[in-house]
Symmetry: C2
Subunit: 470 residues, 2 copies
């Protein structure tokens, strides 16, 4: 990065974009060395970002050329930060020797990720050239179920014996540290493969040289099982804020560690899935970026809720038609129908959104169900009264309708808001209770139900207040 001394974030982004533009211009005029030198002023994360943009703009060929011109150690780092698709594209375009180099240098867990993405024939070619011991380990790791702790972990950790002294441990770390995913937490065994404790590098650095590891190690460490689902893994990381967590098998033997950076992506994907479900989009098993997803798959993800809503909205329509007597006598009521239905949907969605998010960050617990309902009941009465008064005045004063029509809307409004808020508060909790994702209980589900109920409440209130026989 250039040595600019007062650089706020915006300026940094602008400079990034400007340099990216220059690099693309260099590549287009085949000034590869200039492009490379400018690229190398950035760190590996930024370079990967730039290559992605370049690939989108002017295609894979130039990206492969510039990628091959990077110093080897840089190219491995950059490669590990590229998205899976781009990695596959690059692997297919470079020589076997270059692939071997990258594969040799990649961290073990990144290697597994790449191998999972690659076509089988290329995987075979790579495995052929891998030393037998590592090939065995790779095959073992490729066999853990997708989305399990086993599929996320790396076997590259520092393992100490509890009988070592601090000086011995530090010498060992100096020797092995280069190949380890993290050296900041070390894992302690006693002879066998069982995990006995963990010790932080910080504790080692601060302690006296002659202290025994057994005295320094912590034994109430947090750990995961290889078969734990990645959602549980993410929960544990979020809860404890650790940098790395050891993974053990059913015999409590240490088989790997998961580091924070590997779980960040999982956490982000979980949040994306939640948000999309709340917006009525069913996610895929495997996350794909918006622009990379095909039109058919987009349609496939969106149609389930739309068809469900079509059916419920048709039922709503049929229900409304039952009140033809009311509607044909007072056709102006049709104009207020969207108001009641829309308010029901929105106010219910608000409550559901708060509860779904509350459940997912553990601010709300299943045992709080009565507290939630009591809170929503009071909030809905307050909001219902405000909206009723507002609507009554508007209908009577602005629309110049009769007080009876104003009263119909006002009464129906309070009932609809109360119903919707209680439903929105309760449905996500009920879903969680029976093991369904609460995020599915947002807009589409809530508004399906409130649409039906709101229109019936409104037209039924109208028949009572206006004295029209059904």
């Amino acid at each position: 990065m250039a040595e600019v001394e007062t650089l706020d974030m915006d300026t940094k982004n602008q400079q990034f974009e400007r340099d990216l533009g220059k690099i693309i211009a260099f590549l287009e005029t085949s000034a590869y060395f200039k492009a490379r030198d400018l690229l190398l002023e950035y760190n590996a994360v930024d370079i990967a970002d730039m290559l992605e943009d370049i690939l989108e703009d002017i295609g894979i060929e130039k990206v492969v050329i510039i990628f091959r011109m990077l110093p080897k150690d840089v190219s491995v780092d950059v490669f590990s930060y590229l998205p899976g698709d781009d990695q596959v594209n690059i692997v297919q375009a470079i020589t076997d020797r270059e692939i071997s180099y990258i594969m040799k240098e990649l961290d073990f867990d990144d290697k597994i990720d790449v191998l999972e993405e690659l076509p089988a024939n290329i995987v075979d070619k790579i495995l052929e050239k891998t030393p037998r011991e590592e090939r065995k380990l790779i095959n073992e790791f490729l066999n853990y179920p997708e989305d399990s702790a086993g599929s996320l972990m790396t076997p590259e950790y520092i393992s100490l014996q509890d009988t070592m002294t601090v000086a011995e441990a530090m010498a060992y770390i100096k020797k092995e540290g280069m190949d380890s995913e993290t050296v900041y937490t070390c894992y302690v065994k006693h002879g066998g493969r069982k995990l006995e404790g963990v010790v932080s590098l910080r504790a080692l650095v601060i302690a006296d040289d002659n202290t025994k590891i057994s005295e320094l190690m912590e034994t109430d460490y947090v750990y995961l099982n290889v078969m734990d689902d990645q959602e549980e893994v993410a929960e544990v990381f979020k809860k404890y804020g650790f940098l790395a967590i050891p993974v053990v098998d059913n015999e409590h033997r240490l088989v790997g560690i998961i580091t924070f950076d590997d779980i960040m992506e999982v956490i982000e994907e979980e949040i994306t899935e939640d948000i999309e479900r709340m917006g009525g989009v069913m996610g895929d098993d495997e996350h794909k970026e918006y622009l990379d997803m095909s039109v058919f798959r987009h349609a496939k993800n969106r149609l389930p809720w739309l068809l469900f809503m079509t059916v419920t909205l048709m039922i709503t329509g049929t229900l409304i038609n039952q009140f033809e007597a009311v509607l044909s006598q007072v056709i102006v009521l049709v104009g207020y129908l969207p108001l009641l239905m829309g308010t029901g949907g929105n106010t219910g969605t608000q409550a559901a959104t708060l509860i779904i998010r509350g459940l997912s960050v553990d601010e709300v617990d299943l045992k709080d169900v009565l507290k939630v309902l009591w809170k929503e009941l009071r909030v809905s009465i307050l909001i219902g009264i405000v909206l009723s008064i507002f609507n009554f005045l508007k209908i009577v004063l602005v629309d110049q309708q009769s007080a009876a029509i104003g009263l119909t809307v006002a009464i129906a409004m309070i009932i609809v808001v109360m119903f919707a808020k209680l439903l929105g508060g309760m449905l996500p909790m009920a879903a969680k209770k029976i093991g369904v994702d609460p995020a599915l209980m947002a807009t589409p589900m809530i508004s399906s139900i409130t649409d039906m109920v709101s229109s019936v409440i409104f037209l039924f209130t109208a028949s009572l207040v206006l004295g029209i026989a059904l």
Copy 2:
């Protein structure tokens, strides 16, 4: 934690809940020592969790008693994991001497957080007893704008000179490491206060004792400015995945560091705010948990969008009433109105949700606007055709309505879906372009517009297809 060898997450949670129940029972019978011993089998994060639950169940008094019975070093850690409200409650209930101890031992940034929450008179009392040098520093930190990098950082970092050897640096870290927030990244200066580079503990541990720091340090490090907003800080952490990032002032002098654990909360709050806004709830400046927020504040956060929707839904009603001629002649159309409006709202929200999330995780960029529109256009045609056919068949075959009415709904449906998807794709990008939070362009805004437009499209199509003069 008990030594159970095959313990999956569910069993762990169950054990947690069971032990929590026992502890509460002990406290209720005043068996404090038994409660404490069981509590101490857990780590500080879990103990803080349990104290929160205990406080909710049986009140603050017993929590204060058990808190005071914890070993001092544990109590400081537990204190730092408690939510702000509980910290204030405990500080107000314990003695000055205990407060002094906790304040002395807390990490600097946690201390600042606690002081920001406490009432002014208690802050004054605490500052009185703080050494002058630290008091000066605290006052300085309390003065950074809320939500700035300055308010998140800590001055407790390891600072090395570039002329040191690795052996000298390690000796220095051994001496100072105890009081530093992290020792895993060290910050290198050259005489003055300016930041020259960073060096990881890993690099130090692996290097030879006589290597100079200037040879090991990286100079293309990422840094933040004290005045950067916490959203930008969160972006940088998410992008690079670093454990700690240095914060400099306008003269590029190192004033503090921000560590990953401190930004995690910020990231979570930003996501909560986004999700709530997408659900039509306006967040507060300061995040408060759902159950802790008063009924009035809940109502205040939800009313703005509801009132906005009320106004737009009334306009929709007025628009519908313009088509009285159509509606009174073919009253059955009223039953299909919710179908069109609902589908418009849902299908628009789906597109908006995907784009809002895509923008926030940088999968979609403002320059992609044409690609987004082209994608949504094709998706909407596909979905529109599926829904149209489905609806036409249902109307003609099941509802036994005329083909003309089926055709009206089918034609209007395709137009509505296309309009809603393009709107949903475009609005969040337009919002971002003009500096408005895209999350505000979800359900309430999209459905307000689509409600109006869908009903007009539907009734206008009806007048054309059915040949009814407006």
